[in-house]
Subunit: 251 residues, 2 copies
Amino acid sequence: MDLERYFLERRTIRNYTDREVDDRLINELIEEASHAPNTGNMQTYSVVVTRDEEMKRRLSPLHFNQPCSVGCAALLTFCADFHRFTRWCEISRANPGYDNFHSFVSALIDTSLFAQQFNTAAELRGLGCCYLGTTTYNASQIAEILGLPSLVVPVTTIALGWPADEGADAGRLPVRAIVHNETYHELSDGQIKELYAETEAREDSRKFIAENGKETLAQVFTDVRYTKEANEHFSRLFFDFVKKAGFHIPG
Amino acid sequence: MDLERYFLERRTIRNYTDREVDDRLINELIEEASHAPNTGNMQTYSVVVTRDEEMKRRLSPLHFNQPCSVGCAALLTFCADFHRFTRWCEISRANPGYDNFHSFVSALIDTSLFAQQFNTAAELRGLGCCYLGTTTYNASQIAEILGLPSLVVPVTTIALGWPADEGADAGRLPVRAIVHNETYHELSDGQIKELYAETEAREDSRKFIAENGKETLAQVFTDVRYTKEANEHFSRLFFDFVKKAGFHIPG
């Protein structure tokens, strides 16, 4: 396999065939993912696998009814988890101190690395994956449905199945937009315009603008897809849930 | 290449030869990494590449002088970045609302997925990588040295170079420790003991316990490596920096 091409050409898959994904395969992929790098080898993450159709139907509204949340063979909810490690400390005559913001952030990063190693391993076996960023929008209700204990916070979800189509090419910014040598180089207005020109010229971008009655692609993001109002609403909800899960956050 | 074996057997590499890593190769790997999944294709991340020896020496104490921070060919600091996207909105007659906790968390996750796709792509080309989790400990000073503007927060760093050794096998928990089917299953004390038995029996674990004069491996974590006191100290520092970077956090 040409791995460089895989990385450059991989696509999110949102439609799946009816073919099952074997439990043993899912467990093999999770084991492969668990060898992703992590902080102090504490493995501060867990994954809850949802295959039951009724459980998918209960989770789906919390993912804003994205079709892949019920159309997939399995939903995998990746959780930052300091619960297991804390329990191990407690039964090992050790006094754990992981109910804090820094430990939460560390677990959030490690859970993401673990999820992404799962995503890559699964795609390289021919499976289709779609991340559901909605996990942090409704973390509290997802945690309730999945029965998550203290110090466990859902971070992201992958919908998994055998691909029914090839997915769409989303495109990316030119790499020079994201690389900075030695220090961060502030871009001029002209440079930003030039870096986003290709994205703005895409047919799907122009369709988004027209469908939403907007003047620019950026307005589709700020006024429709990711509004200030919604972001602030979900900031409060997620912040409150992280505290409720037991991670104290400085005031 | 046997990809399944790669995932299961990959190792962190902390020692590198003197051989340079070509700039073009680093840029190719960053381009491959930029095709990792991300929220709304906003690409809310940047990477600062440090090759200059003097810059490495300035960053090294902030990474607690880990030898790989100066021994590597390049340090790559992966940053959650809503600055570029916000600038693009501002010059596109759009009103951005991304200076909040939820947007920060979203960028933190996407930056981690991007970093992990870089890590995998680099290792599959034969490069050695070591994540420096210390990035969130001293984010404020790292941001100052790298000249990061508002809404840019360093998340993690990868030390990169051609391997001088094979690295050490760190081992992982049995996969059943991290997988939950349908709902989270609380483990009994006996189950936790059994899941950590292999880790505790490792020669390096027993050496850690002896060297630190502790009774259990868990005590090495709680009393030496990741203490409650240090975690709470760095929680405050990181929280204050995230706010200073311009992400408002609910009080």
